[in-house]
């Protein structure tokens, strides 16, 4: 047999295997355990690889724990102590010390910017990122890594690209002239059924924390949703437009989101139809790197109705968790080993009496953070793209010690200011 025939045979066998053993059973809710076996092998290999690195270079063990500790010990003393301690004095020349120290601490390590870069891994995942400096350790390890690269780029990547395309062509792409409209609708229904197993919570709103653009894929494997989100360009944009043809989604420009009434109006219309699919919203507004939950924007919580919180946490060891929403993100996802994530569906919550949208949003955020084991931060995810508003800076000026208005980014007063 020559090369192409062989390749064709392999492809055919692989597709049949995948379809028969994984996709078809999962469409009916049955798992044959193949994924679990794959994961076990993968974890074992990676643990071995990490140990090899650590024994290879002696000092690395000291750094293993440092990934979770900060660089500096931050001085949490309140401002009253930091500023002039003498009673009756309004201002001292030494008052600048406090602010300069706080400023330098922020430069070395701050809570916000590090949430937008990729999380540090404790063990090596045989991809490019590692907890220690990637050095040449042993020929065996390098061989394993090279093998890993070959497998990822030449085996996993093409098959991942090919499989969805072949098995689930979007009905919207079929040319209108060639096929009857009735058939197209039927196909659309079929696609719906094969990719959705459970469709609960009709007419409600699901909110989830946002870790990457593929969150939606993860959640849709379990149920159908109407998405609300930012319009993307490139390949993601094509996927988005294809999805719109199958289900009614609501795509926005982020700048348009400022017109909050428009968003709320469209969402309210959607909920009013009880038969419609539940809406999936990511209230953080941007991708955070899986260690924390940032401020939930109150717009989604103003609509009313029942909120079903969902907590997502990606388990780090296998996934190449690059900084989300960067270029080549899809490529890196497609060439990673596997994505293992925990999804918790939580009991529904409604807005209580006397609670406004902001407080409700915070309550839901806390619940999600607790469930997912993530840190909760009061900062706005929008700080990834925009600078802090000048208005906030003016508000935070400290008056002399004899007056009020303390400056402390962690106090609740500040919290209210950040939420526009």
């Amino acid at each position: 047999m020559d090369g192409t025939e062989l390749a064709g045979q392999i492809l055919y066998t692989w597709l049949t295997l995948v379809f028969g053993l994984i996709l078809l059973p999962s469409a009916f809710g049955v798992s044959l355990g193949i994924s679990e076996i794959y994961m076990k092998i993968l974890v074992k290999t990676l643990e071995w690889a990490t140990l090899r690195i650590e024994t290879g270079v002696a000092k690395q063990s000291a750094l293993k724990n440092s990934a979770s500790i900060g660089i500096i010990q931050r001085d949490e003393s309140p401002m009253e102590k930091g500023l002039s301690g003498l009673r009756g004095r309004d201002f001292e020349l030494s008052d600048v010390f406090y602010f300069s120290k706080k400023g330098l601490e922020a430069i070395v390590e701050d809570e916000v910017t590090q949430r937008f870069s990729s999380e540090e891994l404790v063990s090596w995942n045989l991809l490019t990122r590692t907890n220690v400096n990637f050095q040449y350790v042993s020929p065996r390890l390098t061989a394993v890594w090279v093998l890993g690269v070959i497998v990822r780029y030449c085996v996993l990547l093409p098959l991942r690209c090919v499989s969805p395309g072949l098995l689930f062509p979007s009905p919207g792409d079929l040319p209108d002239s060639g096929i009857e409209p009735g058939l197209k609708n039927l196909l659309s229904e079929l696609v719906h059924l094969t990719c959705c197993r459970i469709c609960v919570r009709k007419g409600g709103i699901c909110v989830a924390n946002h870790t990457s653009p593929i969150d939606v894929l993860i959640l849709t494997t379990d149920g159908c949703y109407t998405m609300v989100g930012q319009v993307h360009g490139g390949l993601m944009g094509i996927i988005q437009r294809a999805m719109v043809k199958a289900c009614p989604h609501v795509w926005f420009e982020r700048s348009e989101m400022k017109d909050r009434h428009l968003v709320v109006k469209r969402l309210k219309e959607h909920i009013a139809h009880k038969k419609e699919l539940p809406i999936l919203i990511f209230p953080e507004g941007t991708c955070i790197n899986n260690t924390s939950v940032m401020m939930f924007k109150k717009g989604s919580f103003e609509i009313g109705g029942t909120i079903h919180p969902v907590a997502i946490k990606v388990r780090q060891i296998i996934h190449s968790h690059t900084p989300p929403c960067q270029r080549h993100y899809l490529l890196r996802v497609m060439t990673s080993w596997a994505i293992v994530c925990d999804v918790w569906y939580m009991p529904p919550m409604t807005r209580e009496e006397g609670e406004d949208a902001v407080q409700f949003a915070n309550r839901v955020k806390s619940a999600i953070a607790v469930q997912g084991g993530l840190t909760e931060l009061p900062w706005d995810g929008g700080l990834k793209r925009a600078k802090v508003k000048d208005a906030f800076k003016e508000e935070q000026m400290v008056v002399s010690t004899s007056s009020c208005q303390r400056w402390n980014p962690r106090c609740p007063f500040w919290l209210l200011l950040v939420q526009h």
Partner: protein, 221 residues
């Protein structure tokens, strides 16, 4: 990516920075220069610790460096939200940049950070013939002095003091009140009667203040 951090920071640069900033205690410090380069006082135990500190700070430096050209600009600093809301944020950022320049490299970054290293006991009784370490009490005070002294004439004039007061105190105090606070402060500090505060007068006023504690950041190992 983690691999970038170490490959770009060569060992020689690491050594130079260690010497300059004294990240490991027991080092003699030298001014920025490529010539003098003796590492005879290094202690193996502290070397391990400082290596990791510097590497982590370098990771931080590269993560702030969005332009990926090995230097930081003022915008890179302003992107840190906690710094942006600091009343003295702009002044602190200026402290990193040498005279007339808009970019700071990693060595300059470390030099400024070194001012905030805690003073350790075994450094106090050091060889007094060597140059003064960057984190000495005097250099810390100098750093604070430069936050006030915008035009770098080695004096804090009434106007400069008013500017800093306005930044720290905000809009709720009237100009007259601010003026009187400034006048009072200058009056108490000024000894040679020139209505401005020189560096020596500044030091004298703050001699009872625990500068070492207030202007030190404790690094975790």
């Amino acid at each position: 990516m983690g691999s970038r951090a170490s490959t770009l920071l060569r060992d020689e640069e690491l050594e130079e920075i260690k010497k300059e900033t004294g990240s490991a205690s027991g080092f003699l410090l030298h001014e920025l220069g490529e010539d003098n380069y003796q590492n005879s006082l290094s202690h193996p135990s502290t070397r391990e610790v400082s290596h990791s500190q510097i590497t982590r700070l370098y990771s931080r430096f590269t993560s702030l460096d969005k332009g990926e050209n090995g230097t930081l600009s003022r915008e890179d600093f302003q992107r840190i939200p906690e710094l942006a809301i600091n009343p003295l944020g702009d002044r602190i950022i200026n402290a990193f940049f040498p005279e007339g320049e808009d970019q700071v490299n990693f060595r300059g970054f470390m030099r400024t950070l070194a001012h905030f290293r805690p003073i350790e006991d075994n450094e106090k009784s050091k060889d007094v013939n060597g140059p003064e370490p960057l984190n000495s009490r005097s250099n810390k005070l100098h750093f604070a002095f430069r936050l006030y002294d915008l035009d770098k004439d080695d004096k804090i004039s009434r106007d400069e003091l008013l500017q800093v007061l306005r930044m720290m105190v905000g809009v709720n105090i009237s100009d007259e009140q601010l003026g009187s606070i400034a006048d009072r402060t200058i009056q108490e500090a000024d000894q040679d009667g020139d209505s401005a505060i020189s560096f020596t007068e500044f030091v004298k006023v703050l001699e009872k203040v625990d500068v070492e504690q207030k202007m030190s950041i404790r690094f975790l190992h």
